[in-house]
Structures are given as C-alpha cells and as structure tokens.
Symmetry: C2
Subunit: 251 residues, 2 copies
DNA sequence: GCCTCCAGAATTGTGCACAATCTGCGCGGT
DNA sequence: ACCGCGCAGATTGTGCACAATTCTGGAGGC
C-alpha cells in the first residue's frame, strides 16, 4: 500500500516445507479467502489478482493459482480466461437455485434429525447449546462478522449430526454461495438476524414435536431468501446489451 | 503401446492455441477420464500417472495436473501427496452416503416434475421418448458401456427438466460417484439393468398419477444400491487390523 | 470534442528445469 | 536367513523465465 516496490517477490519462509504441510497451507488459504468473501470483506465482483494474494499470504503465485482453481470449482470465484479471478457475483436465478437446493438438502437433514432416538445424545445437546450461546454473544456484541460465520456453522453442525458427510460437504458449498448471494442482493433495510430463528430451531429439535423443526428450517431459509432483493436487475452492462439487442445496425 | 520411447515428449498441435480453446480442451479431458471411470475402463484404485495421461491426450503434464485437481475436487480421483492420483475407491460408508444424497435430491426433482403443468411440453416428451429409445437400443445390443452412460444421462435429463441447474450440477457429481461405487461394489451375479425402471419412470411421469413417479424413483435408487455388496470388507489391510485389534501382545 | 489506434505496462498462461519424495532392490552386517 | 541401510530410477512438486493477452493512457486524426 505504502511503497510500490514490485522488485521484492515476497520470499516465503526460508525452509520451504513440502509434503503434507503444504496441503494444509493451501486449505488454510482457501478457508481464509472463503471467510473473507462470506463476511464481505471481499464483495462480489472484486478482482483477485494472483500477485497480490501471493504477497498477502506469503506464498508463490502458483499456489494462489491452485487455490483459485479450487474456489472456482466451488463457484465462489469466477475465472475468466486471460482476465483473472473475481469474487463470484451470482445472478438472481442462481441465488434462487442455491436457496432451493438448500431447502431440499436441509429439509432432508432435519427429517433425519427428527428421526433420531430421544433424548438426543449429550454431545449433541452440549454442542447445540454451546453454539446457541456463541450466537447470542455475537448478537449482543453486534459482531456482524462473527454472526455470519456462526450462522453458517450452525447449519453445518446440524448437517454433521445427520451423519452424512457427503450431504454435509455439498451443503458447505451451498452455504458459501448463500453468503455470496446475500452479499450481492441484501436489501439496505432491515435484516432481523437469524440467531432468533436458530434458537427456536434448537428448541424444536430438543423438544421433538414431529415436523416442527423441519418446518422451522424451511421457514427460516425462506425468510433469509425473502430478505434479498432478487429482482432481475443484475447488471447495467447486461441491461444495455439486452435493450439494444435487436436494434438495427446503422451501417 | 508398441515402442517405449520416452524421449519424445508428445508434442501437442504445432499452433498451441491459447485462451478459450484451452478451457474446452480441459473439460474434454475431464469428461473423457470421467467416462472412462464410469464405464470401468479405469477401475477404482487405478494409478493415474501424470506422464501417461499427458501422452495419451497429447497435452503437457501441467494440463493433466490441473485436470486431476478438478477430478479430485469432485471426489472421482484421490490425490495422495507425493504419491500421485488414483481412481477413487469409495468406502461402503461413502457409497451409502452418495446414494442417500441422490435419494434426497432426486426425490425433490421428481416432486418438482410431478408438479409441472400437464400435458408436458412437446420438447420434454420428445427428449424422454428419444432417450428411452436409445436405452432400449443399447439394451438390445447388450452394449454395457452405452447403457451405463445413458443411465446416468437419463437422471441428468430429469434434473434439467426440473429447471434448477445448481441441483443438476450437484447431481452430476453424485452420479459419477455412483458409477464409482457400482464399479467398486457390484456383485458378480445378476444386475437386471435399469432400462426397465427408466421405462416405467417415463410412463409414470407422462401419466401423472400423483406421487407415482417419485415413488418409482426412490425404489429405483434403492434397487441399484441393494444390488451392491456393501458389507464392510473394504480392504484386506483394514480387516487384518480389525481382526488383531485386541489381541494381546505376545511380547 | 470525441473517437480510434497504438505502444508500454501489468497480468495471466505455460513450458521447463530442477528439487523433493517415494519405490524397489541389492548389499552387508548380525 | 533376516533385517536394516542406502542407493538408483521413477514420479510428483515447485519456482522461474518467458510467451500471450489484456488493460491503460495518450497521441493523432476527423
């Protein structure tokens, strides 16, 4: 930021550890960028220059390139050939699809959780309550970043309880993309934060009135989606293109 | 195959086109390997040496490396650091999870299809019937490879009709992983091929008796899973470990 | 004043050389 | 005879240099 010295290639730690240590460093970077996108330090459309990221994380450009490829596969960043990587900017259609996919998967998860033998295991109860406390704390502190992260983790926690790591993995991606959709389409106004919904969900799960937790989850997801402004005004550029699409050419 | 001349690095086409043409070449390779895995020309556990693949496809090793990274992300190949890439060998647990995930997603897809206004669009009817004919033909010709490919495409076709590209994309991965699971766990015996199930599904969809198509789909997926031998004898190594786990040490 | 075009800068893409690691095998010691 | 040790050979991992492309700013013409 201060000096514009491009000659220093940001040498990484002297002992360049290789092997397993590297892979964890990569997933660390993936997670780090993922979180930054989720809590909007990196808004949709942001250009992600390889060199800058390499410098920021103290790794080589190739490593960053690999990470970007992974993130692109998860639809969190968009890779445009010869143009670079950008934080993905979902279309309203895609946003709706993501929420629909979440409803499909999370309904199934809730149905499985409701089918679990009662009472729920102590481990589960403890984790649920612990997480609830964390969300409450974040809400009281008005720590928006923490709230966003915890909200995602809550849904993931439920997925893990359902005991299907494959579904949980799919949901992980969908949650990241939800964050992106929220960042792109959130209305200026309102946003009754979802900690309250989560509280009710936890209570319903523990209480086990058949169908209640599932219904609450669907309603919760609907609520979040409804708080978005998904009218189809994606981009000025695209609008112009559409408007002048069938203008006759003035030779 | 005939000569073992390793000195020739399999030069790619003289004019190394760059840009958009490259990305399509990559997805071509991904698809090609994916299909080879699906129809068992590449059984689970097969070592995928970068150099061999590069030679086979006439591209550089780096390109192959990128493709393998993508396939690994989709859990179709397993990447072991410093050891290389292998065709993934799902555990019985993972196989079950994949089929459960498919039931979750494909049930939702069928419910949406059943909710479609009737009669179905000509386009849909034509594609359904056309696909049915293809499957019949493959069955009559006993073309196992074609049957496997068409079977996957059938499920994907339904997903596309449901109009949610995100769900369809998720299902694409799950179908590939199903193929892997089938390759890994199929019983020697039987295998009443699923073309018949698909025929009935098409009929139920067109007929539109509420819930029938959805029920058939669930049953179909259950059938396919039941035809697998998912008893937990994943690996000899692990069996030994389990068997001798609580043997007293003979010092 | 505005548009077009072009050179230089910045950024991404790719081949290559070499380093790091794993595997298989032979050799010597006990 | 058996076990560890270590040395090739093969394979993967990574930094780097350079090629290709896009972007930017400004000069020149209309």
């Amino acid at each position: 930021m201060t000096t514009a010295a491009p000659a220093k290639p940001a040498r990484r730690t002297p002992l360049a550890r290789t092997g397993a240590a590297r892979s964890s460093a990569e997933s660390r970077i993936v997670r780090s960028i993922g979180e930054a996108i989720a809590d909007r330090r990196l808004p949709p459309g942001t250009k992600l220059t390889e060199e800058s990221l390499a410098e920021a994380f103290g790794v080589s450009r190739e490593r960053v390139r690999k990470v970007l490829l992974l993130l692109a596969q998860r639809r969190v960043v968009t890779l445009i050939p010869n143009r670079g990587a950008f934080v993905a900017k979902p279309s309203p259609k895609e946003a709706r699809e993501v929420f629909e996919a979440r409803r499909v998967i999370e309904r199934a998860i809730m149905e499985r959780l409701e089918r679990l033998p009662r009472p729920l295991s102590d481990d589960m109860l403890e984790k649920l309550r612990g997480h609830g406390a964390l969300e409450d704390a974040a809400e009281r502190a008005a720590d928006r970043k923490a709230m966003i992260r915890l909200s995602g983790q809550f849904h993931l926690l439920l997925a893990e309880f359902a005991g299907n790591a494959t579904l949980a993995g799919i949901l992980t991606d969908l949650i990241d993309r939800s964050s992106l959709a929220i960042a792109a389409f959130e209305r200026r106004s309102s946003h009754t934060c979802s900690a309250d919904d989560h509280r009710r969900l936890i209570a319903a799960l523990i209480g086990n009135r058949p169908g209640e937790a599932t219904a609450l989850m669907i309603e919760h997801l609907d609520d979040v989606e409804r708080q978005l402004d998904l009218e189809a005004k994606t981009d000025t550029r695209i609008d112009l293109k559409a408007i002048f699409a069938d203008e006759p050419e003035p030779t």
